[in-house]
Amino acid sequence: MIRGLIGAIGLTVVAAQAFAADPLEIGIGYLRHAGVKSTLSLVEQPAANNGVAGALLAIEDNNTTGKFLNQHFTLTEVRLKQGDDPVKAASALADHDGFIITDLPADDLLKVSDALRDRGTVLFDAGSIDDRLREQDCRANVVHVAPTRSMLADALAQYLVWKQWKRWLLVVGSHDNDKLYADALRRSATRFGAKIVQERTFEDTGGARRTDSGVTLIQRQMPVFTQQAPAYDVLVAADESEVFASYLPYRTWDPRPVAGSAGLVPTSWDAAHDQWGAIQIQNRFVKLNSRHMTALDMQAWTAGRMVGEATSRTNSNDPKTVFNFIKGPDFSVAAFKGQRLTLRDWNLQLRQPILLADGRMVVSVSPQEGFLHQVSELDTLGVDRPETKCKLK
C-alpha cells in the first residue's frame, strides 16, 4: 500500500485576516487501485496520477477559499496493490477523513460503502460509471460524481438523432463492460428513435496493443470486419476494454463516421473544452500537473469541490452536516459546464451536461436543444426518477 500525504498548499503564504483560532481541518481521502489500463492510442495512455491530480487541484482551490474562511483541506491518497483489501484501506482512511473520493470497480465500492455505513463517512464515486450502483445497488452513503453509462449513451444518442444519423451499426466488444455499454446504447436508441440496423461482436482474441507493424494488419482487418453491413448512417462502437474501437475510424468498409468508444466520444471532460470559463481550470490544471486534464481528473476535482462548496456554506467539517447540505435543495456546484450541477435526490447521482469530443475538439454538448423535461433537461440523460430501481437506505 502506497500512502502519500498531499496538502497544506499555500496556506502559510497569505493571511488576509489574522485568525486567532486554529483552522477548521477537512480531510479528504482518495482510494483507488494502483496501475492504469492500457489504451490503444498512446496519447490517451493515462498518467499514474490520473484522477488524483484533479482532486489535488480541488484541494488547492478549496484552500484558496479556505484562507478567507479559516478552513484547511488535506488530501490523503491510498493506492491499492494487487491483493490489498479495499475495506481495510478505506477504514484506515475513515479514521481521519470524513470524505473519501473513490476510483474503484463497482464490487469494491459496494464492499467499502457497506463497511463504512455506520461510520458516517461520505463516499464520492469518481471512477465508476456502472448504472447498477445508482439503481438496484444504490447506497445512501455514496454520491456519484461520475456520469453513468446510460447518461453517456443518451448524450451521444441525442446528438446522433439531432444529426439525423438514425441508422446505427452497433459493434460490441466481448467483455462485460462492453456489453453493459451496448445495453445502454440500445436503451438510448429506443428512447430517442434511432434504429440499430445490425449488431456485431468483436471478439477479443488477445494480442498486444503495441507492435511494430500493427497498422498493416489492422488496415486489412477492419474493412473486412465491417463489410456487408445493411445500410447505416453511423457505426457505434461499445469497446470500453480498448480492444478495437480506435481502429475503426477511416477503416470501415463503407465511408461512415464512428462514434461511441472511438470517433465521437461522450465524456464528462475533455482537454479541448474551453467554454464557460473552462479555459481557467484547464490552465490551472496544466500549471499544477504539467499535463492535460482527463475526465477522471475532472470527476475527482468536482468531488473535491463539492466538499469544499458544502464546508464553506455550512462552516463545518462534520461529515453529517456537510452531507445533509449536499443532499439538500440549496446545493449546487459550478463545474465549467455552462450551468449548475445538482444531485438527483433519488439516487445521489450528479446531474451534468456531457461533452461530445472527437479527440481534438469538443463537437457538441448534450442535452441537445429540443430534448425537453418537466424538471431539468439534464434528466433527459440517464435513468430518470420514474424508472429508477434505487431505494436509498
Partner: protein, 322 residues
C-alpha cells in the same frame, strides 16, 4: 503621448460637464478580437478596431480620450486613442486580465487577473504596477464603493465578494454568495452592493457596512428552465430606483424594482446577454448579446428594446463616452 493628456484631466473633466446628446459606445468582441464603435445618435457601427487576443473588460478613461480594453490572452490592457481609433499604448496587468475598474479621478486602475488569483493595482498615468492583492479563485467582478474606500472583487470559484480596503490594500471582509459571482454594482448612495451569481441564478444584495447578505433577487421566467437563467451584468439607475440585470442564455434583461427587489419586467434581447452600460444621460441602456453577435438598445424610461445593432463576433463588454 496619451499620458500627457491624462495629466490635464481635471480641467477636461469640468469642461466636458455640459451635456452632449450624441455619445460613442465601444464594444469588445471577445471572439472577433475587435472593438466595435457605435454612434448612439444614428445607432450604427462607425468603426471596427482590431485589438489583441480575447478582448473583454472595456472602459473609457475619465477624460473620454482613451478606451482601455483588457486583452486576456495577451496578458495586457490595450489603450485605444478615441481620435485616431488606433492602439496608442498598453498597460501592464497580471496574467489574463478580464474586468477592471478605475477610481473617479482616473488615476488608479484595479484589474482582476483570472489566472493567478490576484487583483493588480496600476497607476494609469505612470503605467506601473503599484501592487497585487491576493484574492480567491478566478477573480472577476471589480467595483469601487461610491466613497472609493472599498474595492469589491468577486471570485468565481471561491464564490465570494472580497472587500478590499483601498488605503491599505488588505482584504477586510469576505461575503459568500451563490455560485460563480460575475459582477458587482453599488447603489449610488452606497447603501447596497449587488452581486450577480451566474450559476447560482441569483443576485445577492449585501449590506456593505455589515458585510452580510440581506436579500436576493430571484428570477422566474415561465417556460424557461431555471438553469438557463444566469445573471451577469447589472446596471442601477442614478436615482437607485431601478436595476437592470442581464440574464445570459435566458436572452432577457430583468427590470428590477431596486427597493422591493421584485422583478417587474423581462425584456427580450439577443442571445446570451452579458454586460451593459447606460448612456450618461441615462436615456438608453446598451447590452451585449454574445451568441447573436449584436447589441440591444433599451429605452430606459419606456423599458423597451428599441433597436438591435450587429457588431463583431461574441460581443462581451460595453463602455460609453462620458
Amino acid at each position: 503621448m496619451w499620458r500627457l493628456c491624462l495629466l490635464c484631466l481635471p480641467a477636461v473633466w469640468l469642461i466636458a460637464a455640459s451635456p452632449a446628446r450624441a455619445y460613442v459606445a465601444y464594444i469588445s468582441n471577445e471572439k472577433g478580437n475587435t472593438v466595435s464603435v457605435i454612434d448612439t445618435e444614428k445607432w450604427v457601427v462607425t468603426a471596427t478596431i482590431k485589438v489583441g487576443q480575447r478582448p473583454r473588460g472595456i472602459e473609457f478613461t475619465r477624460d473620454g480620450n482613451f478606451v482601455m480594453v483588457a486583452v486576456g490572452d495577451d496578458d495586457i490592457i490595450q489603450v485605444i486613442d478615441t481620435k485616431t481609433r488606433q492602439i496608442a499604448d498598453t498597460l501592464p496587468s497580471g496574467a489574463d486580465p478580464e474586468l477592471f475598474t478605475q477610481d473617479a479621478a482616473g488615476k488608479i486602475l484595479y484589474v482582476a487577473n483570472e489566472n493567478d488569483n490576484t487583483v493588480t493595482v496600476i497607476d494609469i498615468a505612470k503605467r506601473t504596477r503599484l501592487g497585487d492583492i491576493q484574492v480567491g479563485v478566478e477573480p472577476e467582478g471589480m467595483m469601487l464603493s461610491p466613497d472609493e474606500k472599498i474595492l469589491i472583487c468577486t471570485s468565481e470559484t471561491t464564490n465570494m465578494a472580497h472587500f478590499i480596503d483601498t488605503a491599505t490594500r488588505q482584504v477586510v471582509a469576505n461575503v459568500l454568495v451563490d455560485s460563480r459571482p460575475r459582477f458587482a454594482e453599488f447603489k449610488h448612495d452606497g447603501s447596497e452592493l449587488w452581486v450577480s451569481s451566474e450559476i447560482g441564478g441569483t443576485v445577492s444584495i449585501i449590506d456593505p457596512a455589515k458585510h452580510v447578505v440581506t436579500g436576493k433577487v430571484l428570477f422566474n421566467i415561465p417556460g424557461l428552465r431555471s438553469e438557463a437563467i444566469q445573471p451577469v451584468g447589472i446596471g442601477i439607475t442614478k436615482d437607485d430606483k431601478t436595476a437592470f440585470v442581464a440574464l445570459g442564455p435566458a436572452n432577457r434583461v430583468a427590470v428590477v424594482d431596486a427597493r422591493s427587489r421584485a422583478v417587474t419586467k423581462y425584456l427580450l434581447v439577443g442571445q446570451r446577454v452579458w454586460h451593459m452600460a447606460f448612456t450618461p444621460d441615462e436615456k438608453y441602456l446598451l447590452v451585449t448579446n454574445g451568441v447573436s453577435n449584436d447589441v440591444s438598445v433599451i429605452d430606459v424610461a419606456a423599458q423597451k428594446v428599441i433597436k438591435t445593432i450587429q457588431v463583431g463576433e461574441l460581443p462581451w463588454g460595453v463602455t460609453i463616452s462620458p
